[in-house]
């Protein structure tokens, strides 16, 4: 019996680790950048422009350019993957904060909250739906992009897809694709649950939302 179970486990593990760190680091960067871009309008164009510029570089090219610099390990993949999460996350942090009604902010300030406290206790929590929406999109996108890193030695389930290509073999191709999509679906559902946990007040409004 070959390494099938073990391969799938290793591939899945690699896929999850690569995705998790990419989105986590992306969020750690995007939150302060987004807050700054929202607070100081003039920062918005450069912040979105820079993260958008990364988007114009095709992923394989970005990974290929990083390989001579950072080698054939996970670091190379992570740097590229983090880059691709930034535009969505920064955009959604800004949009989320933009969406906080002005009177809510006024009320908080009126109650004696400092701007910092207002941000942490009122504005960011209210921006959570938009931020989580961004995290959802970024995560699903990243899960797809991870498969491309098979061409530089990682890949997660993309390794199976690559095997399917190299040996003209439908089985690992289908398996790798299905598992990748299933992972994306599962994580997406998980993130919806996280959002619900973080925003109990939105359940009442949920039915009114146009989606």
């Amino acid at each position: 019996m070959g390494r099938h179970g073990d391969t799938l486990y290793q591939a899945g593990r690699e896929h999850v680790i690569l995705t998790f760190w990419a989105v986590a680091i992306g969020l750690v960067i995007a939150l302060p950048v987004g807050v700054a871009a929202w607070r100081w309008r003039w920062l918005q164009a450069p912040a979105l422009g820079l993260s958008g510029a990364v988007y114009t570089i095709p992923s394989l090219a970005l990974f290929a350019l990083l390989v001579p610099v950072t080698g054939l390990g996970r670091t190379t993949s992570e740097i590229g993957l983090v880059g691709y999460t930034l535009l969505i996350l920064v955009r959604n942090v800004v949009a989320g904060l933009d969406g906080v009604p002005a009177d809510v902010r006024e009320a908080a300030l009126g109650m004696g909250f400092t701007p910092a406290r207002t941000l942490l206790r009122v504005e960011l929590p209210l921006a959570v739906p938009a931020i989580v929406a961004g995290v959802r999109i970024a995560t699903v996108t990243t899960i797809g992009l991870v498969t491309v890193t098979a061409l530089i030695g990682q890949g997660g389930f993309g390794q199976l897809i690559y095997d399917g290509l190299l040996r003209d073999f439908r089985t690992p191709l289908v398996l790798g694709t299905v598992l990748s999509v299933a992972l994306a679906a599962a994580v997406d559902v998980g993130l919806v649950l996280v959002e619900r946990a973080l925003t109990p007040w939105s359940r009442a409004r949920a039915r009114a939302r146009v989606i």
Binding site: R3, E14, G153, L166, R167, D168, T199, P200
Partner: protein, 315 residues
């Protein structure tokens, strides 16, 4: 407020748990395992064994060989990490030199001509000797070459060979129509491939970038998109696909003996003996059989390798 805090705390706990799980057990590709060098110890059992990262190129035979050597070393207690299908030698070899990977099941002649484009075609003994001289200062040890060989070769369809009366590569000079060669991207710049064809045989060809002797190259040859295909001599399906391998009468191809290389600090006597035993057991016919299992019958490379080892009593 309390509900939010609880929910937020729960989410943070979940994230932390994933973080711990992600960092935990078994490193990533950059092995965070602490290594003993286990270098030149004669009592290998007394010292902890070096963890070895085995790399393979992006074609299935090499992946199978990586699995084969890895299986034997793993059974003897060496922690093995695999980095398979990394790419062409141009990409993997620097990783070996920098220590990102430790072991590659290489091919003597092609490796030497990668290091020295002017070296030409030598006997396997001379090739290995030169390799050792070139690699020792880089901290890489070249182990014993196997008698199993797999070298680059140029194939054409049977029809093309009959129509143009082709038996050797020199015969290609007779062909008047412009020729297109198909192969992996690195073929375009290698002396063992397109460049060698031009330099040694004087045959100028157009190049179409496909894959490393995989389904894309075969599809292109069958379709007529290319006239010449870069294949490997140990391929299992050359006859069944009706391909004719043109003889390398001017000897621009290298000694294609399977020759494992390993970073010197990861090599101890026990590992050396195990690796050399596997190399000794491999023959070209066995290699072709294994390729048939993996490429044609789509067996799992690791399963095919382990079956071979068990049959030879090495596992």
């Amino acid at each position: 407020m309390r509900a939010t805090r609880g929910g937020a705390a729960g989410a943070i706990a979940l994230v932390l748990a994933m973080l711990v799980g992600a960092c935990g057990s078994g490193g990533g590709s950059k092995s965070s395992n602490t290594n003993d060098t286990g270098a030149t110890s004669t009592t290998a059992s007394a010292k902890a064994k070096a963890s070895i990262t085995i790399a393979s190129a992006n074609f299935s035979e090499n992946e199978m060989l990586a699995d084969m050597y890895g299986a034997v070393l793993a059974k003897a207690g060496y922690p093995i990490t695999y980095k398979l299908k990394l790419g062409a030698r141009e990409v993997i070899e620097p990783a070996l030199e920098s220590g990102q990977v430790d072991f590659i099941p290489e091919y003597a002649g092609n490796y030497l001509s990668f290091l020295d484009k002017t070296v030409g075609s030598l006997s396997v003994q001379d090739t290995v000797a030169k390799l050792r001289t070139a690699l020792a200062p880089k901290g890489i040890t070249v182990l014993e070459p196997s008698q199993a060989t797999d070298a680059d070769a140029i194939a054409v369809t049977k029809d093309f060979a009959t129509k143009n009366n082709l038996k050797t590569l020199s015969d290609l000079a007779k062909v008047t129509t412009p020729l297109t060669l198909g192969g992996p991207p690195e073929c375009e710049t290698r002396v063992t491939c397109k460049v060698g064809l031009e330099q040694v045989y004087g045959i100028k060809v157009k190049f179409k970038s496909l894959d490393a002797d995989g389904p894309l190259t075969r599809a292109a040859l069958d379709k007529g998109d290319i006239h010449l295909a870069r294949v490997f001599t140990a391929d299992a399906d050359l006859k069944t696909k009706g391909y004719v391998v043109l003889e390398d009468d001017k000897h621009y191809q290298q000694a294609g003996n399977v020759t494992p290389v390993i970073r010197t600090e990861k090599l101890d006597d026990e590992a050396r003996a195990l690796i050399n035993k596997v190399s000794a057991a491999l023959t070209t016919d066995a290699l072709i059989d294994l390729n048939k299992s993996v490429q044609v019958d789509k067996a799992d490379p690791k399963a095919a390798a382990e079956k071979f080892l068990k049959d030879k009593g090495l596992l």
